[in-house]
Symmetry: C2
């Protein structure tokens, strides 16, 4: 019975990692299509999103079955609950990638903004946070998860910087208002992707330490 | 043992409803402060958010304990897992209310936009969706939950309308760009609140029918 539970849990972790791979691919496809000004590339994002949504439903079913049939305890129970939450985060990351592809398609059809925005750098940092959060999950690496949390402020700062730059450009180049708005929305979507990576990292810390680091309360699970 | 489980489950439902009450209060406080142009009102939002964050950690702990000690099955298990998810949604609704208060404070410090935006109507519709989703949860009312899902499109449409109106106003009144951007962000926050209410309604449908209505797959839980 124990061996069966461990096998099922490993299977569930594999499913989450495969879903995470689709999420990484969706982020990569949407940001690269935008950066390389290749609107064709956005089409792949929708294919990845379908896989993400399929995995979302399947993983929730697996978690329910595992809880019902195996009734795990302590760290194992925390792991299954974390998977339920990580599953939700990954699904919403698929939505954000699709949002980037919509704003990106709109953006590429118009005159680009004049102010320099280092989208490749922001996109790379966000993708790294996502990859590192998923790696921390699969390795149970609390230290790596904490490092992900520390990177979130830099992305918030990028978002705020781009917002101010675009506001200024809209004043001086009213003809570029549409493009500036797209750029604002795209960097907000990237920032939300980073937020979801942060949520995943917080879940990893909770699974492997039993400590809830959200909201600075630092409570113990007691189980 | 069964009686104890039912008592604990009722206790957990009460906690979610109390948290939901703080979320409703946070939305009410942030939108009313904005509509009545009373910046003092935004202060209450932060007090409500602290209560929401406290409840978020506490409810997750209760769910873990309930799963560990009682190992519920079928509909009871789905209910506890739904509470885990609803808890996350409510916490993020607190964040959205805080975001409205930040943009709202900024907005009230400047010249208002000229184009008419029916914020009271949008805010009322969003608050109704939240209240109806929580009512559907407490009553286990699948029909009411489905009605919440049907209301989401209207909010998406409001968001899109405001976006187009503000884009046009920024072109004709570049001096109001800052205010127009605030209005865009505020309606996006309201739309995200409606999305979270939709998530809650989907969870209610899943708990009481065993059917996963997300992504149009309509899968059964099998437990």
């Amino acid at each position: 019975m124990i061996r069966k539970f461990e096998t099922e849990l490993e299977d569930l972790k594999d499913k989450i990692l495969k879903m995470g791979g689709f999420v990484e691919a969706a982020i990569e496809a949407s940001t690269q299509a935008l950066i390389q000004r290749n609107p064709e590339g956005f089409k792949n994002v929708h294919a990845y999103e379908r896989e993400i949504n399929r995995a979302h439903v399947e993983i929730d079913e697996c978690c329910l079955k595992l809880l019902a049939l195996q009734a795990p305890l302590a760290a194992d129970l925390r792991l299954v609950l974390a998977i339920v939450k990580i599953n939700s985060d990954l699904e919403r990351m698929g939505d954000q990638s699709v949002n980037i592809s919509y704003s990106g398609e709109h953006y590429l059809s118009k005159v680009p903004v004049k102010t320099e925005v280092n989208l490749p750098q922001i996109a790379t940092q966000v993708r790294q946070m996502v990859t590192e959060a998923l790696d921390a999950f699969v390795k149970g690496d609390v230290h790596a998860a904490k490092q992900v949390l520390e990177k979130d402020d830099a992305i918030d700062q990028h978002k705020a910087d781009v917002f101010e730059k675009m506001k200024a450009e809209m004043q001086t180049h009213p003809e570029l208002i549409g493009s500036c708005l797209d750029m604002i929305l795209i960097t907000r979507n990237l920032e939300r992707l980073a937020d979801h990576a942060t949520n995943i990292a917080e879940d990893v810390i909770f699974v492997y330490t039993g400590r809830d680091v959200r909201h600075g309360f630092g409570g113990d699970s007691g189980t």
